[in-house]
Symmetry: C2
Subunit: 368 residues, 2 copies
Amino acid sequence: MYARMICMIYLLVLWVSLSKQEPRNIQLKPPNLSGQYRINVSPFEEIANNVQIEARANTGYPCNGTFTKTNGTTCGLKEIMLGRCYEYQYIKRGLYLSNTTDIKNCTELYDLFESEVRYKPYCNMNMSTYSKYFEKALAGVHVINRAIFWSGTYAIAHTYSGHGSNYITLEDTLAANMLDGLMWCGKENDTEGFDYVSCPNNCKDNRWADLAFWGLASRTFAERVSGEIYVVLNGSRTDGRPTYRNGSYFAEFELPYFKRNGSFRVTKINALVLHTPDLPVTEKCGEKSLVFLEKLIRDAQFEYNCVDDPDELIMLMCADSWGARECQVARNSLRQLWDIKLYGTSNAIIHSLSFVVLFCIGVFRQIV
Amino acid sequence: MYARMICMIYLLVLWVSLSKQEPRNIQLKPPNLSGQYRINVSPFEEIANNVQIEARANTGYPCNGTFTKTNGTTCGLKEIMLGRCYEYQYIKRGLYLSNTTDIKNCTELYDLFESEVRYKPYCNMNMSTYSKYFEKALAGVHVINRAIFWSGTYAIAHTYSGHGSNYITLEDTLAANMLDGLMWCGKENDTEGFDYVSCPNNCKDNRWADLAFWGLASRTFAERVSGEIYVVLNGSRTDGRPTYRNGSYFAEFELPYFKRNGSFRVTKINALVLHTPDLPVTEKCGEKSLVFLEKLIRDAQFEYNCVDDPDELIMLMCADSWGARECQVARNSLRQLWDIKLYGTSNAIIHSLSFVVLFCIGVFRQIV
């Protein structure tokens, strides 16, 4: 009871002090770490048409002159793929992929890719279309104790992987990196051989066409990881989906293909379940779909571990979701610490009261 | 005196509680946001030879077969430049550069670049070598209220700029993006026309050769920014240099070239002075070299504003410098808040004491 009263007073003082806060003489934009561009398409669902696209259906080749956004093949597909291939092997490698020294022939890789697509109808593709490409592009790759998978957490998982310097996601491998964020589809009886105006993306008679590339990419990557691996899951989905979901890339193309035997086998799967600032917690370790996931993993003889919101990732989420209410306490505590660092004493020592809010929340919850 | 005693007790309790902390069942790597790769070479200094380079001086063309790190031209220079050019215009533009629609001809841009370098001796370059390239590549570009400059703060400034989605650094423009992180030098009487083994980087008789590209790039960018601009400076340099330094790119190629007249003129320069976690503060706003900077800026009739460690950037520094002592308070407060979010009450409510440390530091400092 006393604790509750003290808390009320604290909160009042805090509110008064915050409302008196001096206006800052500079207005900066919040950081935007998740400004990444791959559209996360779910393999067994209709594609959401939330991207406004101005398709110039009347023009044949929209890659000249002025920019028009289409939902066809990315202009400069070949050049982008080749450039990324060289950059991956000669620049990124020098930094953090230095344990392998074999250079793959970029032109050969592109040609392998092109030969399966160009001049060919999109909806004829299937799960073996790109097998030669992946065989070549992933030859010799073994990701040991550094592989990280993601499902519903593209941006944060990639920020955290540090583009391969920290952990390695599918998109940090050469094979997938060359196509990440790109679109493409072949076109018969066409000079270019690619449709630059519109790609089907949804073949009614052959759903595998849509999965031909990213499905096989996921599977091939999953077959080449070993040791302890990580999967970053979303425990605050707002779309009504479970955290672990049948039909997701992870469920369909990754989990079933982890190696169970041999020297390059997976030993342990660590689920990292993230809860976005200011969104409700829909699932956490040991609940709902994660119980099912644990069973699947243990039945397959892998060790299983589940961690809700590792410290390393909370700070990243807050650096990104800058305006979130749940990040303000940390923001204030950092401000105060930096004021002490700079001026010897905090200009706003009264803000220390904000930490008390935490204590108060605890007190209230325990009482309730 | 009482405050001091209370603090001592708090600190003791905190120390005991922290030393009792349960070991975590998972060990993750810290985030590594600054895993970026441009080597920041200072224009008027000897190049630091801290990068270990294995130059295979005996082999002519090191871009085949196995990977060898050299200090010559980046293998795949042309392909990387072309790929980045297309990616910049057709992918990145669709996201956040949508106010311009003119597509630049990538092959033409590359040819303009190549014609000034290939088959030509490196040390003959000067500040006008690349002028046609920049004229073409930056044609029509005006960065209004979104330009951000950096000096000694490459990684954090670029993480914050969000690769152009948030703010725009030099390296987020097409002209500079095509060459960011690459090395190149021409070679006379050579089939390739580029030296892939070793670039001079330090022409004794012509220091301008080393500045030919990045010097002109900086200057041309500076001439095209307007409105309110930002410069991120390093207030905790460990190399003995001042925060604002004559001889830096910012001092030599940017500040003198900001437009003072016309409709695209610079109105205000905001200095953002950052202080790295766990490093001592060497300079802050209104001190030492920043006094000199303010005078320079005001004499040039620009408005001036200086902010030490904007909140937006402290959290980013802590997400990056994960292990820093000065970030632990925020880390603990986030952990606690997330525990409340997840479990209704914190598993480690005693950690709230850590916030008291802040208060105590304030108390001690005031007493001293």
